[in-house]
Amino acid sequence: MMADKTVDVLIIGSGHSGGMAAKVLTEKGISCLMLNAGPIADMHKDTEVKPAYALPFRGFKQPGRLAHVFQSNEFNANTWVDEEEVPYTYDPQHPYNWVRVRLFGGRSLFWSRQSFRLSDYEFKGKSHDGYGDDWPISLADLAPFYARVEEIFRVRGHADHLPQYPDGNFVPDDSPWSGCMQRFRAAGETLGIPVCKPRSSMGVDGLASSINLLLPDAFATGKLQAMPNVVVRELRTDPRTGLINEVHFVERLSRRELSVKARVVVLAAGTLESTRLLLNSGLGNSSGVMGHYLIDQVYGPGIVCSVPEARDGRSTPQLMGGGALVPRFRNLDRKAPNFLRGYALNVYSSTGSMDPRNFAAYGQALENKLDSYKGSGFSTGIMGEVLARYEHHVRIDKNVVDAWNIPALHIETRYTDNEINMARDAVDTSIAMAEAAGFEVLSKNYEPNPPGYSIHELGTCRMGDNPKTSVLNKWCQSHDIKNLFVVDGSSFVSGGWQNPTMTIVALAMRASEHLGEQMRQGSV
């Protein structure tokens, strides 16, 4: 970079939301500089196929490392942010699993690819049940952007015509149901519970990341420059205008302090990192709600079953295999007795070996069970809405800093009776459906994983029409600072049960088009 040069748009973060912002803005001819906290991964240099026995801990996680990343193992440990390098704090009674990736491309490199639209049961939740707040936008506002995002991500799905499971611009999924899924669907029908095809991004060559779907287009314009290995410390405003004009950052390895001038800043560092940066900068919080209304999704509760007809070598591709999705069915027309909102169920059928934890046996008896039950596995897992609450919040912990001397985040949240009761209902309903389908339930879990586990942290800079009760307007633009946009998941007002990726990317696309237009008009 040349000194004293002002960047048109500075984008912080290279994941799905930053990638979409870069694509939209550069395709409009706007020059962008992207900063990313971590290095660029090179699969040829950075990975090698190895047997577990050749690893230092035989495939066990290195003890004490990444204690809050349940998704980590000894093979992939080096892809996650180390919580000693970038610490965060929490009440030990109420831990939070903050699961982060700082490699170029961020968490878009590793995600489950479930691709859903939010429905107006989420956008307009308060209007439906009186709880919380409505979003300032509805599905109709976002639908055209969803459609374009779904095309880029090549979302495979089946149109089900359910208002709580809005259809999209799908690569049609007309695959037949396996026998066990047909039985589960029939069981759902008797209980009034829809069982649908899952929807997920096929991407290109099996990858649906910003590094292969979004950033190549941006770089092809010649308008995008990107700098890995720089950790942003602070945004600063021009006291005369109140607008952001400088971004201060640290070179990751050398600790050299640098700054760059920018006309507009687009924050896309991931929900909690974007909020942390704003809180550390003391900007954009005239409402006082920044950091509040942290939400995520309940994961963990579910069941594991066996399909008896598939045991003892009788598992066939016609009977077993495939997946399903039970979209939210609670609190649509009738009120559930002890919780608001709802959950979806991920449903899988497995043709492989069963997890030995599903049998209270050992030695030869366990081997016999594993042999007999092989190929008969069937499981469900919850994806549940977490209610947005003011008291569930993040703030800066001034006593703890990261490896670059940047103050850490303190995260204060917990699941309440609403989430616990919802989880119980999800497991009991799963059992009722599985037993009605004739499956043997082997194990069940009612206990939610710690908050954060879903890697779907949302909110903390929520959007709204009222600058006194929200941080961003409906264009993901700061109410206080016109040249600041936050395009990751922090703008969410409520989270729903849906994997939020499609919504984040659609919102980033919509916000970036709005920004591009504002820049063209000279109003930003």
């Binding site: 950075d46 190895k50 047997p51 026995y53 003890p63 004490g64 093979f75 600790r255 800093v401 082997l442």
Partner: protein, 224 residues
Amino acid sequence: MKRREFVKAIVAASVSAKAMLGQKAAAPVAPSVAPPAAAPAPGPVPWMRGLLEVKPLAMTPLLPDSVAQTTARFFTPEQRAALHRLCEILLPPLKGYPGAVDAGTPEFLDFLISVSPAHQQHLYQSGLDRLNAEARKALGAPFASASAQQADQLLQPWLRTWMPDHPPADPFAHFINVAHSDIRTATINSQAWSQAGRRTPDVGLYWFPVDPDMRRQAPGQGEA
């Protein structure tokens, strides 16, 4: 070496490095040549010379478990004996595969738990102590001397079905079931199991540290 002689030697080394670079001035800079600013090597020849041209050795690096025994030193002798017996009982040799003891699992777990956080150490230590106490109560002897049938009577009531990340809440059931899972993992992931091999070993894509930071500790700070 007196200081003056030492300085002279440093100067000589730096001169010869410079001379060597001078001879190659016309050629493109090769990675095997020390950059001019680097500290001079203590000798007439640059340290890295020739490494780029060397052919890989015809060798397969040996892993420790293929020839060496792990030194177990964390658990007390009685805890260790109970863990050894637990391994024999829970995962004996089956279908031509080595059992947990053949795979060195008791010693490996002694090592793994020795470097684990305190709560994990406590889980194993108190669990093995409880196992011995239960055996003494039932048999008048520690768990290590329990027959297969006696061990079954002690273990069976505590076996549970459970899902990952959610082990049983009761502390002793927690220990028995987590230890069972750990014993299986340590054994099935062992080199001995892999070599017995009709089944493919648990291979995966291992990620090296990507451009790692040295995590320098700044003065007055805790571990960064």
